[in-house]
């Protein structure tokens, strides 16, 4: 199954003097939860934003099922991206925020209520987002990503701001999505959390790939994921 495969090839981006991403290549397969790990500032967010066309790479390509994001006929139906927990108008309610994008994508308005229910925000649906906690914004961001029932889900630090209950919940949700055959690619800088969440890892440091592969194999060859991570990222946190 290659429809949901993410292929990043030679991706490069420079912001002024900063080389954010430097010749990065990796593959993410469907049906697994793949962790995208690296220290703060390693280039994870820049890479994810290049993957979905929000940032234009200086060089290289990123494809999803063989197509660049901007070439996807219906991107909302193919890729769900949860990238920004602050991306809401404070005065708009959670439901209305989702309704905007239901309208744009041609989904029935009731789809907004379905995903709100899925992420556990039904009770807060009619409240303005300015009253949401970080955990609730995280859930609303996830609801946006799931709006189009997409085969590929990309999440940037989805665990931030969630309480322990929420963390257990999202772990189960991502597991379910992968078991349904979807591609789940999730960035994190929390190793302990990643260890509970992912089967495969892509580890980057200073914009470059340092390791990719099976979590268990990688962990066992270094003793643990933590030892592997620090060995590979030279202790830079």
């Amino acid at each position: 199954m290659t429809a949901g495969r993410i292929v990043v090839s030679g991706l490069t981006k420079t912001f002024g003097p900063v080389q954010a991403v430097d010749g990065l290549s990796f593959v993410v397969e469907p049906g697994t939860v793949t962790g995208f790990l690296g220290p703060n500032g390693a280039g994870k967010t820049t890479t994810l934003r290049m993957l979905v066309g929000l940032i234009a790479p200086d060089a290289g390509t990123a494809t999803i099922g063989g197509r660049r994001y901007s070439d996807l006929p219906a991107p909302g139906d193919t890729v769900g991206a949860a990238l920004d927990t602050t991306g809401f108008h404070p005065a708009r309610t959670g439901r209305n925020h989702l309704r905007v994008y239901c309208t744009v994508n041609g989904y029935a308005p009731c789809r907004a209520d379905e995903v709100l229910d899925l992420v556990g925000l039904t009770d807060a649906a009619t409240r303005p987002v300015k009253g949401y906690s970080l955990g609730m914004r995280q859930r609303l961001t996830l609801a946006m990503a799931l709006l189009g029932d997409p085969p590929v889900v990309v999440l940037d630090e989805p665990v931030n701001g969630l309480d322990p209950e929420g963390i257990v919940w999202i772990r189960g949700l991502l597991r379910d999505l992968a078991d349904q055959g979807r591609t789940v690619f999730v960035s994190s800088h929390l190793l302990w959390e990643a260890q509970q969440l992912v089967e495969h890892v892509v580890i980057i440091n200073r914009g470059r790939l340092v390791a990719q592969g099976d979590l268990i194999e990688l962990s066992s060859s270094f003793g643990s994921l933590e030892q592997a991570y620090f060995a590979l990222t030279e202790g830079v946190v």
Binding site: L54, A81, G87
Partner: protein, 255 residues
């Protein structure tokens, strides 16, 4: 596709209240301008033609143009810059990666909303002007004396400034800078430069002054472009601003 994007922009517009507050501001300012025009029409030092003449009545209705266009432009600019201020641009461009389509949908929505702001402000002028002038013994028909042309001009300028607001917002992206810039330009900078007679050959081409020309404004101490010329000038501003706004929106990274 296109209609869904336009519908989505309408949901964005109507799920917050700003359009209502800015419409109220435009109508209140129109009421003030219309009231002052009528109240001072008998003043011998007034440069405006007397309200008993068709020229005076046309000017009265043309006063709706400045409040309607200014607040329509501000609303439109907020509709674009808000995407960056509140970071909703991420979701918007995720679902619509061809960003020019988002700009096109916003142009469609805010063009129509700008025309509607103008229409609402014209209603305010009629509601104040007709009974007040009748009380002064001045009777006139809204369908005569060139008034339909003035009203059409005011409505077109509202649409034009809705389009300009979208384009300027897309160019500048910073909400505070765009809104303050638009207000200062329309209420401070433009009135100051247009009050300098030596510059009049050039100032008639400024957007707000051209809009007044399109709306058929008449003042004894000032000149304006003919409506046809004014329409051409404004079309030029819209074309340049929209092209620049689209190019920059496509090129800039959404961080």
């Amino acid at each position: 596709m296109a209609t869904r994007l336009v519908a989505g922009e309408l949901v964005k517009l109507t799920t917050t209240r700003l359009w209502l507050w800015l419409l109220a501001a435009a109508m209140a300012l129109t009421a003030l301008y219309a009231g002052l025009n009528i109240a001072f029409t008998d003043d011998p030092e007034n440069f405006a033609p007397h309200m008993s003449t068709p020229e005076g009545q046309r000017l009265l209705f043309a006063t709706a143009a400045t409040p309607a266009t200014t607040f329509a432009a501000v609303l439109a600019a907020v509709g674009v810059t808000g995407e960056f201020r509140h970071r909703t641009a991420t979701a918007t461009f995720l679902f619509t990666p061809h960003r020019w389509r988002v700009i096109a949908a916003k142009l469609a929505v805010y063009g129509v909303v700008g025309a509607a702001y103008s229409a609402a402000c014209l209603v305010v002028v009629a509601a104040i002007g007709v009974p007040w002038l009748a009380g002064k013994g001045i009777e006139f028909s809204l369908a005569g004396g060139g008034l339909p042309g003035v009203m059409a001009g005011v409505i077109v300028t509202g649409a034009v400034f809705g389009l300009l607001g979208v384009a300027v917002g897309a160019l500048l992206r910073d909400q505070v800078a765009t809104v303050v810039g638009l207000l200062v330009y329309r209420f401070v900078a433009e009135p100051i430069v247009t009050s300098i007679p030596a510059l009049e050959t050039w100032t008639v081409y400024l957007p707000g002054v051209a809009a007044s020309g399109l709306a058929g404004s008449v003042l004894e101490n000032r000149s304006f472009l003919q409506p046809g010329q004014a329409a051409l000038v404004l079309a030029g501003y819209v074309a340049v601003a929209v092209a620049a706004g689209v190019i920059l929106t496509k090129r800039r990274d959404v961080l």
